[in-house]
């Protein structure tokens, strides 16, 4: 079936034409400045893809960066810039942070660009939920990371005679083997979002997609059944024994390095690990393995990187339109996410160029779409607003660090979530 040219295709084409004209013109009429948190090695590669795509259209590209995705540190830096009248054209943003910005009335309405690019038709509803504020597009999603993944050192996995774990017991058995082999079974960093990322994988594995959606996305108090929460925290306690000493002093990428070097068997992390490994020339099936977290096969907990556009930026409308069109461009999303390790934000991007883990991630996203199991990650703030997220962070982190026991964790989580939505 031939796709009809979108009704307002000119909106899509105009910036390109203008860009072409601008390229030929001696004086640049506009530029693009973006603000982001991609500072690690792999992340730098991702930004370079964006730079290349923007500059290929003859648009000057400037950037500002502040490490710490979804953190107060990043948010504060951005807020300071906006307050100082130095709002970028667009800034990286994730999850409910987007809604926070939108609530302040600072964001550009992207509806026209979304209509021209048919974003509604290609972006999964779960992501659209975050990209839209009160029914209007305010963010351009560029990818769909997934958090319920395990990344394993293939050499160590083979050495201990590991098998891909299907269920919880398989995982424990695998972790036991690693411990017996004298390596850290499960590498993790000190930050609460890392702990919560592990927690959400365990939680959705125990309670299933329906429980996860009701408990963490729709925040229905009655979904937080104590016996279910207790089972989740018991499993978290079980995992606590395999984290190895000193996890409280590591960052997530240091944990990734432990896996890469073979000091640890595996790490439970988002698909950005795939990006980091790729950046270092590692290949799936050769140096590393990617398995869905046991009991969560078929579920796609996502973290979508998005760009919000500021009304008050110095960029003019054609620049903003050009950037929005690039961000949702299938070729850009392919190139970008080959670097990030994520699935493209639009699900119709051909998957051929991706590595095995990337292809599986895309397949899982497409399949999850069919099953309504594409759900925002709590850890990455894609599931619920930051108040709730923070409440969950605290309980989960306290529990994993051994400051509270399972029963306390159950009670505190119930209360924390309930209080956060009050």
């Amino acid at each position: 079936m031939p796709f009809p040219l979108p009704r307002n295709a000119w909106r899509l084409l105009l910036p390109l034409v203008l860009a072409g004209a601008a390229q030929a013109a001696p004086a640049q009429r506009y530029e693009i400045e973006i603000f982001h948190w991609w500072v690690s090695g792999g992340e730098r590669a991702s930004i370079d893809v964006l730079r290349a795509h923007v500059e290929r259209q003859g648009i000057p590209f400037r950037e500002g960066a502040q490490a710490g995705s979804g953190t107060a540190r990043y948010g504060d830096a951005l807020r300071r810039r906006v307050a100082a009248g130095r709002a970028p054209t667009a800034a990286q943003s994730i999850g409910y942070d987007i809604h926070e910005w939108a609530r302040l009335g600072l964001l550009e309405n992207l509806d026209e660009m979304a209509a021209a690019g048919e974003w509604d038709k290609v972006v999964p509803n779960g992501i659209q939920h975050l990209s839209k504020y009160r029914g209007h597009w305010v963010a351009a999603p560029i990818n769909a990371h997934s958090t319920n993944w395990m990344w394993l050192n293939k050499a160590q996995f083979d050495r201990i005679g590991g098998r891909q774990p299907d269920g919880w017991d398989d995982l424990i058995e695998l972790l036991k083997k690693a411990r017996a082999a004298g390596i850290v079974p499960l590498a993790i960093g000190r930050e609460a979002w890392e702990h919560t990322l592990l927690f959400e994988a365990v939680a959705v594995g125990v309670g299933g997609a329906e429980f996860y959606r009701r408990a963490f996305l729709q925040l229905e108090p009655e979904a937080l059944k104590p016996e279910l929460l207790l089972r989740i925290f018991r499993r978290m306690s079980q995992l606590r024994g395999y984290l190895g000493p000193g996890f409280a002093r590591r960052s997530w990428d240091q944990a990734t390095d432990m896996v890469r070097r073979g000091e640890a068997l595996l790490q439970v992390q988002g698909t950005w690990v795939n990006g980091e490994f790729s950046h270092r020339g590692l290949q799936p099936e050769r140096e590393y393995l990617c398995f869905r977290f046991p009991d969560t096969q078929g579920i796609f907990l996502f973290n979508s990187d998005q760009y919000v556009f500021f009304k008050d930026s110095r960029s003019d409308a054609p620049a903003r339109q050009a950037l929005a069109a690039i961000l949702l461009d299938p070729v850009f999303q392919r190139d970008l996410n080959l670097a990030t390790g994520a699935a493209p934000g639009r699900v119709d991007v051909p998957r051929d160029a991706f590595n095995r883990c990337g292809r599986q991630n895309i397949d899982d996203l497409r399949g999850g779409n069919m099953r309504r199991t594409v759900m925002g990650s709590v850890a990455m703030g894609n599931a619920n607003p930051s108040r709730t997220k923070t409440a969950i962070y605290k309980v989960v982190s306290d529990h994993l660090s051994g400051r509270i026991d399972d029963a306390q964790a159950v009670r505190q989580l119930q209360r924390g979530i309930a209080d956060s939505v009050r």
């Binding site: 509604d120 038709k121 999964p124 509803n125 119709d348 996203l365 497409r366 999850g368 779409n369 069919m370």
Partner: protein, 433 residues
């Protein structure tokens, strides 16, 4: 009769035609009903199956792993839509009044297949979530609504079938009733017609003929005989009667010639003899007195001799008329007895009554004032009268009565003429001046 038979035949043929026509109409309606409503509901059922196939196809897309296969599903769906539409169009001529419902279904169908196309497109873009959303929020409700509309149409078809069937049943009953009524009416008509015809064409004319016959018997020949112009049996009868009347008239005429005296125009002696015999018998039956009056013109020989036979004949005729005119009762009878002698027979008359009549005879003759210069009894013609009365009884006979009257006439002559003498049989002789 022929008319009746042909009428009856025509009626029977008409009624048969009428019922056959009715029955054929009902049969045709029944077949229409089966052809239309049953066919319509079968077609709608098939179209509903198409919809099931369509919805299965739509759902199958969600399990496909390749975009090409999903897009191919759209082609299958297009074919299914064409098939569905052709079925609906095939239903169109069968459902008559339901055209707007059909149009509504086509609109709904368009929407459902449009949704299906959107779902497939979404799925082919790996937007299973969007596909599911459209399925739940649009496709399923629209499909349900479409199915509902089609079910309604089918129900309407079935209802129409039932109603039409009931109507046809009624029509059948009606046709049967009409036929029965028509037959009844026809029979009634034939009966009344035959009754009317038998009354007007047969029995009434026959009654009239009978009356005519009665009149003929009474020798009344003036009345018209009804129905002679008719060509049927009654006409033949009337004509026969007419002939009979003519014959009777001729016979009467002959009889009259036999019984009437040609000179005076009153009854002759033969008629007198018949009358006397009849009156005698009648009076005997009734036990009434019968009077026989003998009249003789006085000195008629002298009249004849002096005035000539011509005057004599005229005298006889005038006397006879005078006598006859004197009799007022229908049964009274006077005849020329012979020569210048006359005789009267008076039923139910005793001697006194007879004497009274005799007085009127005298007066009547006197009133004629026929001059008779040669009479010994006066200057004009006079008569002598002899009377005999009797209540007929065994032992008496007419001859005795006649003889007695003759004796009384002779006595009157002897007493000087222009007088009457009378006697009752078995009674003593009376003598009156």
């Amino acid at each position: 009769m022929l008319l009746l038979v042909s009428l009856l035949g025509t009626l029977a043929v008409l009624i048969t035609l009428f019922s056959m026509l009715n029955m054929r109409g009902i049969d045709r309606d029944y077949r229409d009903l089966l052809n239309h409503d049953a066919a319509a509901s079968i077609l709608i059922g098939d179209a509903l199956l198409d919809l099931s196939d369509a919805s299965r196809l739509v759902f199958s897309v969600l399990t496909e792993q390749e975009e090409l296969k999903m897009r191919a599903t759209q082609l299958e769906l297009d074919a299914l839509q064409l098939q569905f539409r052709s079925r609906i169009e095939a239903v169109r001529p069968l459902v008559g009044a339901q055209q707007s419902a059909l149009d509504g279904i086509l609109v709904q169908e368009g929407r459902v297949f449009e949704r299906a196309a959107t779902i497939i497109d979404a799925a082919a873009r790996w937007r299973g979530d969007r596909a599911l959303e459209i399925i739940h929020e649009q496709f399923d409700p629209d499909l349900r609504a479409l199915r509902r509309s089609m079910d309604q149409l089918r129900d309407a078809s079935v209802l129409h079938y039932q109603e039409a069937s009931a109507e046809l049943h009624e029509a059948t009953q009606r046709a049967i009733a009409y036929t029965a009524v028509a037959f009844g009416l026809a029979i009634l008509l034939v009966i009344s017609l035959s009754a009317y015809l038998s009354v007007t064409q047969i029995s009434r004319p026959i009654v009239r003929l009978t009356r005519s016959m009665g009149r003929l018997t009474d020798r009344e020949y003036d009345g018209e005989i009804p129905g002679v112009e008719r060509s049927d049996e009654v006409g033949r009868m009337a004509r026969a009667m007419e002939l009979f009347r003519a014959t009777m008239q001729r016979a009467d005429h002959l009889e009259a010639l036999i019984l009437i005296d040609p000179l005076t125009g009153i009854a002759n002696r033969r008629a007198f003899n018949q009358t006397l015999a009849q009156e005698w018998a009648r009076s005997q039956r009734a036990g009434q007195s019968l009077a026989l009056v003998m009249i003789d013109i006085d000195c008629f020989k002298q009249f004849n001799d002096n005035y000539g036979h011509g005057a004599g004949d005229e005298c006889l005729a005038r006397v006879a008329r005078g006598l006859k005119d004197s009799l007022q009762r229908p049964g009274d009878f006077v005849a020329r007895y012979g020569g210048e002698e006359f005789v009267a027979v008076l039923g139910d008359t005793d001697l006194e009554g007879a004497m009274h009549i005799a007085g009127r005879f005298h007066a009547a003759v006197a009133a004629q004032k026929i001059p008779h210069a040669f009479s010994t009894a006066g200057s004009c013609v006079t008569i002598s009268v002899g009377i005999a009365t009797a209540v007929p009884a065994p032992g008496l006979d007419p001859k005795t009565l006649a003889d007695r009257a003759d004796e009384m006439l002779y006595a009157a002559k002897s007493a000087g003429r222009n007088t009457s003498q009378g006697a009752s049989l078995r009674a003593q002789r009376l003598k009156l001046a």
